[in-house]
């Protein structure tokens, strides 16, 4: 409300006065992973585009993605995908009015972190073993 005539209104308490809590951090991470995936998808499409473009351009992009830094980015991308998707599942559950009590909400947050890390590691280990 930058154009509001009343600029000196008191503001409601903001982030800095609250003790950090797991559910609050999960909410923030959900948004950050979402924003990261927004740009991650551009990277993914860049990869596809390179394959459609030419051998030379593909070698350049695949060289980047195959490098240790590229693999790290891809690892982060897959973790963010899984974490954001599991967070999305929690939101779909909440949409039905379930999972709001303090025990469940805390349990769901912990399960989300554990599952996203475990699944990501499992997928990458499986991929390297299968090769």
């Amino acid at each position: 409300m930058a154009n509001s005539p009343m600029k000196e209104r008191p503001l409601s308490p903001h982030l800095s006065i609250y003790k950090p809590m797991l559910t609050m951090m999960m909410s923030i991470v959900h948004r950050i992973t979402g924003a990261g995936l927004y740009f991650g998808m551009a990277l993914f499409v860049w990869w596809l585009f390179a394959a459609a473009h030419s051998q030379g351009y593909f070698d350049f992009v695949q060289g980047f993605i195959g490098s240790w830094f590229g693999r790290l980015v891809l690892l982060g991308f897959t973790w963010a995908l899984i974490h954001h998707a599991l967070g999305g599942l929690r939101h779909l559950l909440w949409d039905t009015g379930r999972g709001f009590d303090l025990v469940k909400i805390e349990w769901l947050a912990r399960a989300n972190i554990a599952a996203s890390v475990a699944l990501t590691l499992l997928i990458w280990i499986a991929a390297y073993v299968a090769r």
Partner: protein, 126 residues
């Protein structure tokens, strides 16, 4: 007694000029993204270090190409809606907000169309 005009009642839209489409499309694409993301993660991980011929071979399979098409459409739609909420939360100036929202739409469309073009070109044998 309601102060709303009959036309306003029929349209069912308030001062925001839009209804619940944003919420509904966000949830709809979220549900679609669940199976699609499993495919996407698998595709990404299996294509690290692949040659161009191997990647083209994979995408030449119509099922893989179709899954990529579904994924690109659903994901870019979902990410446009998500980024719109982020922009509306943090960008307050009317002008800058408008520019960010436009940029968001252009970026999402560019990602979608580039991805679709690439998949179809490879899949059709190019």
């Amino acid at each position: 007694m309601s102060m709303r005009t009959p036309l306003g009642k029929v349209r069912g839209l308030g001062s925001a000029k839009s209804g619940t489409e944003h919420f509904w499309h966000q949830r709809m694409t979220a549900v679609a993204n669940i199976p699609l993301l499993i495919f996407l993660v698998y595709f990404c991980v299996s294509m690290v270090g692949a040659t161009r011929a191997e990647m083209a071979d994979a995408i030449a399979n119509p099922l893989v190409a179709l899954m990529l098409v579904f994924t690109i459409i659903s994901v870019t739609w979902h990410m446009r809606l998500g980024m719109q909420v982020i922009i509306e939360d943090y960008v307050h100036g009317e002008g800058s907000k408008l520019i960010c929202l436009l940029g968001n739409t252009f970026f999402s469309l560019a990602v979608a169309l580039t991805g679709l073009f690439a998949v179809l070109k490879i899949s059709f044998g190019g």
